[in-house]
């Protein structure tokens, strides 16, 4: 197996310094945004625990900014940062266009901060801004803040489209940047595409054996990018219609249409960094276990399923809309199961890699293994909530909050820390100065994220509604049973928050360090 590509690359390929610097800068920005958005969450948790920290207005502004800060402010620069590095590292080629990569990053981040400004101006319809709420604020926010929010959101999507162009051209372009002579890969462009989404695993063995498959981290970047690229036009249409509604008041966007348009994007967005992380799991776990994948082919089987189901699951946000065609909901239930099935295949392979191996336990590997556990637990909750018949008891309760906190916080966020600890020497040829602080960071993040998510799960099973400034109402006696779990959630949130201080100190020290302490070799 394995035919040489037309271009011979140096056996010791090093990612160009400008890409490494850009990747590192983006990852640092993402963690700064994480701290900011996390601080918003801490304030909300404090308020929910009965310590008055905000007014209802500020609470909902924080609610909007927290979701936005995590899904866009943290996720996008992190995903951009690791994509740029992984593509260059595993494909052994520079990015298709460094300037466009830089432009994508600047546009996205500028737009994100403009969205935060709109929230500062009063906009508080939630990061998902269900129509027509943005236009019915009950005098709580202005049309100008809504317009700025929607226009800035469009900006983030423009930035993403530029990113997608750079990322996909880097994978599919046959020409090396700066050269018009050599073809970068020998297979046809169509087969390159087939490989890039893992579809080659379904090809006849004779075809599979003919060509070297693409590295799985590259497949993760491609699938994540295509899923979101497919979804982006729908939300752009929704936002343009919203901007038109502001300028032409009699025009009214249909609420059900708008909800479909939003969630067609709003759910796949959570897979953007997630799929990249899944792609990296294969690489990282084999590195930690010092063992090859048990089957390269089986490791690619889940990817086309993730590609299809990543978009198709969207309607599970509309199960409780009785006017949504039931066949769409049943389709999304099927896709929710398919994504669970594909995830199960991935975990199956990852556990096989780990099983009875000489696994090297270190800060990055502990983060990665913990994140897989978070992914599994969040996945089971998601499968329940993704079942139409069950959603009647779980929709808009804390069960959903538990689902995405297990997946996004205990899963993807924990993984992102592990990835940073692992990649840092490759990115900047320096390593974190203190291993002890790294371990403290891990344990605090692990206890905080899993503990808090568990509290959310219990709250959800008790029926506690999400997105409430006042979950406990004195006039509703049964809501007092929520209080203890809200208090506990605050305790775990504090553990999580305080646990980021050693990380920030380590990050500060490594940024300030002048000399190289690690020669481009990952720490495992």
């Amino acid at each position: 197996m394995g035919e040489e590509t037309a271009v011979s690359v140096e056996s010791k390929w090093e990612v160009p310094a400008n890409i490494r610097r850009l990747s590192f800068a983006l990852i640092v920005i993402s963690f700064i945004n994480f701290i900011i958005a996390g601080s918003f969450a801490l304030l909300m948790r404090t308020d929910q625990a009965g310590v008055p920290a905000t007014t209802a207005q500020v609470f909902y502004q924080l609610l909007t900014a927290h979701g936005l800060g995590m899904f866009v402010g943290w996720q996008f620069p992190f995903a951009y940062g690791i994509s740029f590095f992984l593509l260059a590292y595993f494909l052994k080629r520079p990015l298709y266009s460094y300037r466009m990569a830089l432009a994508a990053s600047v546009i996205t981040m500028f737009s994100f901060y403009a969205m935060l400004v709109s929230i500062g101006m009063g906009f508080a319809a939630g990061w998902y801004y269900l129509y027509p709420l943005p236009f019915y604020s009950a005098n709580a926010w202005t049309a100008a803040s809504t317009a700025l929010f929607l226009a800035s959101a469009l900006g983030t999507e423009v930035g993403f489209i530029v990113f997608a162009y750079v990322a996909l051209r880097t994978v599919y372009s046959t020409k090396m940047p700066g050269s018009s002579q050599q073809r970068f890969y020998t297979q046809s462009s169509l087969y390159r595409f087939i490989q890039s989404i893992g579809l080659d695993a379904y090809m006849p063995t004779s075809t599979w054996n003919k060509l070297e498959p693409l590295p799985i981290p590259v497949i993760g970047v491609v699938v994540a990018t295509i899923v979101l690229l497919f979804s982006t036009p729908s939300v752009m249409i929704e936002q343009i219609l919203g901007l038109y509604q502001i300028t032409a008041p009699p025009f009214d966007v249909n609420a059900l249409l708008a909800k479909n348009l939003f969630w067609l994007y709003g759910h796949p967005i959570v897979y953007f960094a997630f799929f990249m992380v899944i792609g990296l799991y294969y690489y990282l776990m084999t590195t930690f276990a010092n063992r090859a994948l048990p089957s390269e082919r089986w490791a690619r089987v889940p990817w086309p399923l993730l590609l299809v189901s990543g978009v198709g699951v969207y309607s599970h946000h509309l199960y409780m809309d009785v006017n949504q065609p039931v066949w769409i909901n049943l389709f999304s239930q099927s896709m929710s199961y398919l994504i669970g099935f594909a995830s199960g295949l991935t975990v199956f392979t990852l556990v096989a890699v780990m099983w009875r191996s000489k696994f090297r336990w270190s800060t990055p590997s502990m983060f990665i293994v913990a994140s897989i556990a978070g992914w599994i637990i969040g996945g089971f909750i998601g499968e329940e909530a993704g079942t139409v018949a069950f959603d009647v008891y779980q929709h808009n309760t804390y069960v959903i909050v538990a689902h995405f906190h297990f997946n996004a916080l205990a899963g993807v966020m924990m993984a992102s820390f592990g990835i940073l600890y692992f990649l840092l020497p490759l990115l900047i040829h320096r390593d974190f100065p203190s291993k002890v602080l790294g371990r403290i960071h891990f344990w605090a993040s692990f206890i905080g994220s899993f503990g808090m998510s568990t509290c959310f799960l219990v709250l959800g099973l008790l029926g506690a509604p999400r997105r409430e400034a006042n979950v406990v109402l004195q006039t509703l006696g049964f809501t007092t049973t929520y209080a203890i779990w809200l208090d506990l959630a605050l305790v775990f949130a504090l553990v999580l928050g305080i646990g980021q201080l050693p990380f920030l100190y380590n990050l500060y020290k490594v940024i300030r360090a002048q000399k190289e302490t690690a020669g481009g070799v990952p720490v495992v």
């Binding site: 207005q57 909902y60 939630g126 269900l130 709420l133 604020s137 009950a138 709580a140 249909n254 609420a255 909800k259 010092n290 063992r291 089957s295 409780m320 809309d321 009785v322 006017n323 039931v326 049943l330 099927s334 199961y337 099935f341 199960g344 295949l345 199956f348 556990v351 096989a352 780990m354 099983w355 009875r356 191996s357 696994f359 897989i372 556990a373 599994i376 637990i377 909750i381 329940e384 079942t387 018949a389 069950f390 009647v392 008891y393 779980q394 929709h395 808009n396 309760t397 799960l457 099973l461 029926g463 509604p465 997105r467 409430e468 400034a469 006042n470 109402l473 509703l476 049964f478 809501t479």
Partner: protein, 185 residues
């Protein structure tokens, strides 16, 4: 003669206790297996070989696929909107939602006969959630403006039930609460 599940659908369904139990079992199994996998790394054997059970991957995958498909089919009759056509409501209550209040044309519901809730919104999307007297979330639906949002449900126990908005609808959202009474038929 309709299947019993169809009379249950939209009324009591599975109930939150069943879902909680199912989650505990599933997550428990997953956490146990994950912990076991971690434990095996303390005693590495055949470190360079693929575990024997991995060779039966086709069988495991098939089993998982069967579970998913079976579960899909099993839960189908319990989907609320699919059951509405089979239920014959003898009461109808109209509910109008607006920022930040509920208006019901009647606050008295008769137990053990299906009631049709016809819920509309005058402004934004709200969430029509009904809690039992002891605080169990029994049913809910989104209340989307521009649509009649109908839900059929049968209450079995008399008492004072709570309607709480379950979709964020503005700053007054937490206080969008009202009650109605279920009386014996």
């Amino acid at each position: 003669m309709s299947l019993p599940v169809f009379t249950l659908a939209g009324d009591v369904g599975f109930g939150i206790n069943f879902l909680a139990g199912l989650l505990v079992v599933l997550v428990g199994i997953a956490v146990f297996l994950m912990a076991w996998a971690i434990y095996t790394t303390r005693h590495p054997r055949n470190a360079d070989k693929v575990p024997g059970w991995y060779h039966k991957k086709g069988l495991y995958v098939l089993a998982i696929a069967v579970v998913f498909i079976g579960f899909w089919a099993f839960t189908l009759p319990f989907i609320p909107v699919l059951s509405f056509g089979r239920l014959q409501p003898t009461q109808a209550i109209t509910v109008v939602a607006k920022q930040f209040s509920w208006t019901l044309n009647s606050t008295k519901v008769i137990a053990n006969t299906p009631v049709e809730w016809i819920v509309t919104s005058k402004d934004v999307t709200h969430g029509f959630g009904v809690y039992s007297p002891n605080g169990t979330l029994l049913m809910q639906e989104q209340v989307m403006p521009g649509y009649d949002n109908d839900f059929i449900y049968t209450f079995t126990e008399p008492g004072v039930y709570t309607i709480r908005c379950l979709e964020y609808c503005g700053f007054g959202h937490p206080f969008m609460v009202t009650t109605f009474t279920v009386v014996s038929g």
